[in-house]
């Protein structure tokens, strides 16, 4: 008797759970069916952009900014009458900072949603996860992000900052000002290792010397031993190429151990994850970073100020407008220019249009596609944070050309298709 009673109770629980799950999935499928229902005739159907950004998980800090930037760009395009007379629509699944999810969603937006271009990805791993899918499906892909450089692929375009832009300029500025002894700490993965290699090459070219180099595994948040090693080496400049929330704990620990005098140089901090706003001063005191854009650029550049204002008007709750947001925005705009020029969204035609060296006067000045490498010619600004984390821009470089791939590796994508990533470590 007792047994049957318990059984019944179990089944009630089971049925309730099932109903709950069914309800949930019902809402979901209703949502998606309205999303993908707009197939229709190609002529007046909207043009679709697949935006794959991490709206949750480790990388959502930047991912959400980038999604918002894309939404802003598309809204502006649509308000100006759309592209080729058609409206532009965004398909934006959440990739959850998960590489597998990137692969699933890349296939989904290409094959099911039939988008005309895919943009997105923050971590290099997520880019590498989906790049083969782009190439296999002959899909145009914009990686609007800073990264370690070196991707030479017919279908991939990068509109962000790469070592060509950031490291030569940065090292030149800090070595000239502070001296030749350089200590590098970098995240122990592709981006960190490759960037550190660039730092080494550039330092040696400038007559400097690497007095120490250390790689920190991702996810490490305690830096006591690293800090004591740096102190022992007594460098003139500390280059930090740290990545992720955990590793950014370095700065607080660094400042706390009484080292705010030593200048730091980086390519990653402040402009992306606005550490100078999130951490109390003087964590990032005396830090230099080379950027293609950051919110504070609005102080010296009217176009940047206009962009920042537009952004906050549309997304008043956002906390910062960073470098990757601008890159995403400019990326969308460059693609739009190319589509207008090609008169179609056909991938091959758009690539040809992009390879004519299309340019766009964006928030941070003119950005222009370099046809041989599929990267962007950009203005580079040196940003400096003082003890109060106030940002100034002591130096800038006009139209830096990303020519390492073409000069060192002989890549010319206008002549020869390639599908690989070169690294200085090879």
């Amino acid at each position: 008797m007792h047994l049957t009673k318990k059984k019944t109770k179990n089944y009630i629980g089971l049925i309730l759970t099932m109903i709950f799950m069914l309800l949930l999935s019902a809402c979901q499928s209703a949502e998606t069916s309205t999303g993908s229902g707009a197939g229709g005739s190609k002529k007046d159907a909207p043009i679709k952009i697949g935006i794959l950004e991490d709206q949750s998980g480790d990388f959502s800090l930047v991912g959400i900014q980038k999604l918002h930037a894309a939404q802003l760009a598309v809204e502006e395009i649509n308000n100006n009458g759309g592209l080729l007379g058609r409206q532009v629509e965004i398909v934006a699944p959440d990739t959850q900072s998960d590489n597998k999810r990137f692969q699933e969603m890349a296939r989904k937006v290409i094959l099911e949603d039939q988008v005309d271009v895919v943009m997105g990805g923050f971590s290099s791993a997520s880019r590498e996860a989906i790049r083969p899918i782009m190439e296999k499906n002959k899909m145009l892909y914009f990686y609007n992000n800073q990264y370690e450089g070196g991707v030479a692929s017919k279908y991939s375009f990068n509109t962000g900052a790469i070592p060509d832009h950031q490291i030569g300029t940065l090292m030149e500025a800090v070595i000239k000002k502070y001296g030749p002894k350089v200590y590098t700490i970098a995240a122990d993965y592709n981006f960190g290792q490759i960037s550190a290699d660039w730092v080494r090459t550039e330092t040696e070219r400038l007559g400097g010397e690497i007095v120490g180099e250390e790689f920190i595994p991702l996810g490490v948040s305690q830096f006591a031993s690293t800090i004591s090693r740096i102190k022992a080496a007594d460098p003139d400049v500390l280059v930090t190429l740290l990545v992720g929330q955990e590793q950014s704990s370095f700065y607080g620990q660094w400042a706390k151990s009484g080292n705010t005098k030593l200048p730091m140089a980086t390519t990653v901090n402040m402009a992306q994850a606005y550490e100078h706003k999130r951490f109390d001063p003087p964590s990032l005191a005396n830090m230099y970073v080379t950027v293609t854009f950051m919110e504070e650029l609005g102080d010296i550049l009217p176009s940047a100020k206009e962009f920042v204002d537009k952004f906050y008007k549309k997304f008043p709750d956002d906390k910062y407008v960073g470098m990757e947001a601008e890159t995403q925005y400019t990326g969308v705009m460059l693609w739009a220019e190319a589509v207008e020029k090609a008169g179609t969204t056909e991938v091959e035609a758009v690539i040809d249009a992009l390879e004519t060296g299309i340019s766009y006067d964006g928030p941070a000045g003119t950005a222009k596609i370099d046809p041989a490498t599929h990267h962007a010619v950009r203005n580079v600004y040196l940003a400096y944070a003082d003890k109060e984390h106030k940002i100034t821009f002591p130096q800038q470089w006009e139209a830096v050309v990303p020519d390492w791939l073409s000069k060192e590796k002989g890549v010319d994508l206008t002549k020869k298709d390639e599908f690989k990533q070169y690294t200085p470590l090879d």
Binding site: S56, G57, D58, S60, L61, I64, D188, E214, F215, I216, P217, G219, V220, S221, Q222, A224, S225, T226, S228, R229, K231, Q245, E246, S248, S249, G252, Q253, A255, K256, S257, G258, N259, A273, E275, K277, R278, F279, D280, P281, S283, D317, K319
Partner: protein, 291 residues
């Protein structure tokens, strides 16, 4: 000079390992539950502290608030969910995984992907020409004091007696009139509160975000694995041993080997002493008493 370095290193590693592991160890040791939401409990503590300091609460109070807040949260979670799973160790893995998903995404939805941190309090001190963060040295002593308090709690209070009895033999404790369910609830609350305390203590030294807890998860698991079921003896011993190993490898070969070293030590220890250091010590004690 180098010896001060090494000592400072060790103090740092030791306190980090102990503080990240102790809440997990108590829940695992007493209840046999592997709490995969441990990192998120720590994260919650960091959020409470950071938000409290931002609204003007002094830091020490804010840290205690984190412990209390997460403790209460732990109690609620226990009453709603965990108490239905006593004795079902492996089911609790799934459930706590679910809880951790809800917590980290929930915090992301509510507070966004990051929080403006507060700076590390206290200055730095110089010893033999090198400077060290005072707060971090303080953390070491806090870890020691905390172990002391836990020792007192388990060895000299009624709660401690009952919970040791419950840990030893669940059914016998029951027949002795101990309400084991209540003991489990209190234990879970205590473990959660300690996680909250850890989050509060480290909030001023690290970037606070919904993934804050993930930095603690691996070290805490390794410490508990090496320590074994006894949350007091095991955790402090394993914190000590791992702290030494980590510091030495760190100084000799860098952070990567320090981290890999932790995992390798854990694997070796389980292989040699499946019950961790607790098992070893208990065996020794038994022998000592016996003959």
């Amino acid at each position: 000079m180098a010896i001060f370095e090494l000592i400072y290193q060790f103090m740092n590693n030791f306190s980090f390992l102990i503080l990240s592991a102790v809440g997990l160890a108590i829940i695992f040791g007493m209840m046999g539950i592997i709490n995969l939401a441990h990192g998120e409990f720590i994260m919650l503590g960091a959020y409470i502290t950071t938000l409290a300091t931002a609204s003007g609460v002094p830091l020490p109070l804010a840290i205690l608030l984190a412990a209390a807040g997460v403790g209460v949260f732990g109690l609620i979670v226990d009453r709603l969910i965990i108490n239905r799973l006593y004795g079902r160790t492996l089911d609790s893995v799934v459930v706590t995984w679910g809880i951790s998903m809800i917590l980290s995404q929930g915090i992301l939805i509510i507070f966004g992907p990051s929080l403006e941190g507060s700076s590390t309090p206290l200055g730095s001190i110089s010893i033999a020409g090198a400077t060290y963060s005072t707060y971090r040295i303080l953390l070491f002593f806090i870890a020691i004091v905390m172990l002391g308090i836990i020792y007192w709690l388990f060895m000299h209070t009624k709660f401690g007696l009952y919970s040791r009895a419950t840990m030893q033999k669940h059914d016998i404790a029951n027949t002795m009139g101990i309400n084991t369910n209540k003991m489990y609830s209190l234990t879970f609350m205590l473990g959660a509160a300690l996680a909250g305390l850890t989050g509060g203590l480290y909030a001023p030294t690290m970037a606070v975000s919904p993934t804050f807890g993930s930095a603690f998860l691996m070290p805490s698991f390794v410490t508990v694995i090496v320590g074994g079921a006894n949350p007091l003896i095991g955790t402090s011993l394993s914190g000590g041993v791992l702290g030494v190993v980590n510091s030495i490898l760190d100084i000799l070969w860098g952070t990567f080997y320090g981290r890999l070293g932790l995992l390798v030590v854990a694997i070796i220890v389980i292989r040699l002493l499946p019950l961790g250091f607790s098992g070893l010590v208990e065996k020794k004690l038994m022998r000592g008493r016996g003959i």
